[in-house]
Point group: C2
Chain length 202, copies 2
């Protein structure tokens, strides 16, 4: 395949994980979702719980300068980083290593940005309207006491958006950052999976 | 086909017009580009030259309130509208009439927004990096004295973006407004044409 790495960014409940699994099966390449990356980062010494929260939902307000130290190693100036930044640096390194190792599908965690300088990456964003996502989230995760489904959708996307903007200085959902974006309420993920397989093999 | 109308928004030089023609041929439905809409609007009494410029590139700063008067007729309160607003109202009415008449492909002119309440619209945005678009624009339109190709790309997209934001109160290029967006430097328009035909027929 021409494009070795597929990154998937997604609104909560739009079907990003399902698409990732379908593509992984179709193309016979590994699939790395947030949990797998969290697990890898946890090996650096942070608790899995902290990594889960901090690694995609941190919305801290400190400067972007630490990005300068990201190139290849977590060892550059870690003394001045917050734990949030350390998690970001560790997961960026892990994502780069995974991409280097073999063709794969990676969901979430700013992978599109982290791998932006590779010329073998195909980046996808999947979204849908609230009604479609609400139904999907309730089917998969069920109800959460004390929160409406609308609040859950908004909260999760808001956090992802803030996190993405904080660490990438780009807007989450700016279509220019993606090779393909689609509305899963109108285009079934199975159909999009076929399209993406065709595009990366072309 | 389930989705009768396809709207195409596009960065300058990304291939939106080519895609529109391909889809029109493939689906055997009429193709309306900016020139055709300009021509129709000009029948309301404005000069074709003014319509061409004002109908997609006006970046005036007046209020959005006139949108309230848009529903079906240009006759609602035209006395208080600028000529820019009159052009917008006229072309919105023409686009709604075209969409009502038969399945079709419409390029540009905020058609995605104007037809947003129909449930039979499939909206597409096509974009590409500057290098790809520069090559494409020079091939089709040639050089323009006194302006670099980079200036031409930036100027045209900036105007389209301001115009869209002004008349729709949405961001041009916010992927949530489109069912499908794609990078034509990575996905050939011929491939995307096949996908879109599949999606609207599904």
């Amino acid at each position: 395949m021409t494009k070795r790495i597929i990154t998937i960014s997604r609104q909560f409940g739009a079907g990003g994980r399902t698409l990732g699994k379908l593509l992984s099966d179709k193309l016979q390449v590994p699939f790395y979702d947030s949990e797998i990356i969290e697990h890898a980062v946890a090996e650096t010494g942070f608790s899995p719980e902290f990594v889960r929260e901090a690694g995609e939902y941190a919305s801290t307000t400190h400067s972007f300068l630490f990005n300068l130290a990201l190139s290849h190693s977590v060892s550059a100036g870690p003394g001045e980083m917050s734990n949030y930044d350390k998690i970001y640096v560790a997961q960026a390194r892990i994502i780069r290593d995974l991409a280097e190792k073999s063709p794969c599908v990676i969901v979430g965690r700013c992978a599109d940005y982290i791998l932006r300088e590779r010329d073998d990456v195909f980046s996808v964003f999947i979204h849908a309207d609230d009604a479609f996502r609400a139904k999907h989230v309730l089917e998969i995760y069920g109800e959460v006491e004390g929160k409406t489904i609308e609040e859950r959708l908004e909260e999760k996307d808001k956090k992802r958006s803030l996190y993405y903007r904080h660490y990438t200085d780009r807007e989450w959902g700016d279509l220019q950052n993606y090779d393909l974006t689609f509305n899963s309420a109108k285009i079934p993920v199975e159909m999009a999976c076929e399209w993406i397989a065709q595009a990366v093999s072309g």
